[in-house]
């Protein structure tokens, strides 16, 4: 099976967030593989091991994403591709990223494309379905299990807590939800091997794209932190008195009940 994984390098949102110059300050911050993309990489490796074939991990971003691509290779992916847009693209949005990925993938004859269902930084969850639409292949989002038998694919997806079982066929794009698998940590031999695996770097030119073709459709004009929440009230006294007070406060002061 020819499997592609769409991967994003993201800011670790467990980190403290601060703003400087209208942007999230990223100096000294930890960067990781987007957690949902880790599920995608793991699933791709497992499917390849079961069905043979090849796993290629693709990322759109800057040179800095090489580190996360190497990690994916160390986990067990076979090849990595970095589409470096740092010099060509000043501003981008999901349209930009999906357009580039769609262009890259259109002649790759992918049987299966796996992405995370959302990136924890931007959080829009658009790129997967956008890419599928461009390639004119079916897609299934937020999957928690996938079985492939020849061309036939059986999937379980999470729909706001409910589980849907879906039948479809290759070629296909799916997006990973938590619960799909437990991503492995790269092993030491894996890390050694990853150094020798191919990591190809492409630019817009290589995809016959002009900057105008990928011009974003939306623009971020400001980024700010939410107002700091004031420390609340910890009630005192006997438990039943506290409970009475709490219910009263919710009813009369907060007016939520």
């Amino acid at each position: 099976m020819n499997i592609f994984v769409l991967m994003k390098r993201t800011f670790d949102t467990e980190e403290r967030i601060s703003i400087s110059g209208g942007k999230i300050a990223d100096d000294g911050a930890e960067f990781i593989i987007n957690p949902y993309d880790e599920y995608a990489i793991e699933e791709a490796i497992q499917l390849r091991d079961a069905h043979s074939g090849e796993v290629t991990v693709v990322s759109v971003g800057s040179e800095e994403a090489e580190k996360q691509l190497r990690t994916a290779l160390a986990m067990g992916a076979d090849k990595a591709v970095l589409i470096n847009i740092e010099d060509d693209v000043e501003e981008s949005d999901q349209f930009t990223t999906a357009r580039i990925l769609g262009e890259f993938l259109k002649d790759k004859e992918a049987d299966l494309i796996i992405a995370g269902n959302v990136a924890i930084d931007g959080g829009s969850g658009q790129v997967g379905p956008r890419v599928a639409e461009q390639l004119d292949i079916p897609y299934v989002t937020t999957i928690t299990s996938i079985e492939v038998e020849g061309q036939k694919v059986t999937i379980v997806r999470d729909v706001e807590g409910d589980s849907e079982t879906i039948e479809t066929s290759l070629p296909l794009l799916v997006t990973a939800q938590q619960g799909l698998n437990d991503p492995r940590y790269p092993s030491l031999p894996g890390i050694m091997k990853a150094k020798k695996k191919p990591l190809e770097e492409l630019e817009l030119d290589d995809l016959d794209l002009e900057e105008d073709d990928v011009e974003p459709k939306t623009k971020t004009i400001d980024i700010y932190l939410p107002p700091k929440k004031e420390a609340g009230r910890v009630l005192e006294g006997e438990i039943d008195a506290q409970v009475k007070e709490l219910v009263n406060l919710l009813h009369k002061e907060a007016k939520v009940i």
Binding site: E14, S124, Q126, P129, T165, V243, I257
Partner: protein, 324 residues
């Protein structure tokens, strides 16, 4: 200039979801006095049209087909693209629900348009619409604008108030015949795990349990409290990892992001990943044995105590209010 806005209505188990009305209200903000066209897709759903009108739709377009009984990206895309072609809207609003998240990027890609997802409020600044959305798991917000062309947004449930309902309001309701062909993904089975139809992302009240709940049966009093308040039960990752409950209930950075009016955290210590999923709730109540627990830092009201003492007492007290 007034604009025509198309909004997608969403039904679940024969009833319209609230987000359908919230989307109409969002559409009003985009329309600058123009027309709101609500699109209702499914099978045997036309009776729901009147409610959309009462919540502010100026026109309802229904697309009915037996292949639209259940949601599929292929079926809904065909129906919706036909409606978009018939109406030529200047803007589109979906709910940021499972359906909206699945379908909106595809429609945007097909139309070659931008899409601003998961909007929590809409402002006007210098004649331009500004969309505010949480990023970095709610730890920051961004303001976005559209660089011309179609305005397409999805709105997070529970954040934009619906317009007041106007009983008896009337508007044009038309049905659009669309030939639905070629569904490439087929739903074979649906297992309902979510609690009693109150969906976590739309719930006004959430009672959530953490490791402090100690067992699967420990969730019983939480469920009773949630049912009493017409809410849903949620959980921290700790409770899911310990197999006290299903992962479908997980709230947090991985898991669901919720913004109910009232969030009652029971036996949840308040790990940063959990806070990312609930800290924007309007009112937060924390119940925890450990007075040093992090959750008290974001809570509006806190009770230091054993949840198994506090929750049953809360149920009793709330019952009194419900009666009075």
């Amino acid at each position: 200039m007034s604009k025509k806005i198309l909004v997608l209505a969403e039904a679940r188990e024969g009833a319209l979801r609230n987000v359908s009305f919230e989307a109409i209200a969002a559409g009003k903000k985009l329309s600058n006095g123009g027309e709101i066209v609500s699109v209702l897709i499914g099978e045997g759903i036309s009776s729901l049209s009147q409610e959309l009108v009462e919540y502010g739709a100026d026109k309802v377009v229904t697309v009915e087909h037996d292949k639209l009984k259940q949601y599929s990206s292929d079926g809904y895309a065909q129906a919706l693209l036909a409606a978009i072609e018939a109406e030529s809207p200047d803007g589109i609003v979906f709910g940021h629900t499972a359906l909206g998240k699945d379908l909106s990027p595809r429609i945007a890609s097909k139309l070659g348009s931008g899409l601003i997802s998961d909007v929590t409020s809409i402002e006007e600044s210098g004649g331009k619409l500004v969309f505010i959305r949480p990023i970095y798991s709610g730890k920051a917000f961004e303001k976005k604008v559209v660089n011309g062309g179609l305005v397409f947004v999805t709105i997070r449930p529970n954040n934009i108030d619906p317009l007041p309902k106007e009983e008896g309001r009337s508007a044009e309701v038309t049905s659009l015949n669309v030939d639905i062909t070629d569904l490439r993904t087929i739903i074979k089975d649906v297992v309902r795990k979510a609690t009693d139809g109150v969906d976590l992302s739309e719930a006004k009240v959430i009672v959530a349990g953490g490791r402090g709940v100690k067992s699967e049966s420990g969730f019983e009093p939480l469920k009773e409290l949630a049912d009493l308040l017409g809410g849903a039960v949620g959980a921290s990752r700790g409770a899911c990892d310990a197999e006290y409950c299903d992962y479908s209930l997980q709230i947090g950075q991985t898991g669901k992001v919720v913004t109910p009016d009232l969030y009652i955290a029971c036996g949840i210590s308040g790990a940063i990943q959990h806070m990312a999923g609930m800290s924007n709730s309007k009112v937060i109540v924390a119940i925890n044995k450990d007075p040093e627990a992090n959750i008290f830092k974001v809570a509006d009201y806190g009770i230091v105590g054993d949840l198994f003492d506090v929750v049953p007492l809360l149920i009793e007290e709330f019952k009194k209010i419900k009666v009075s």
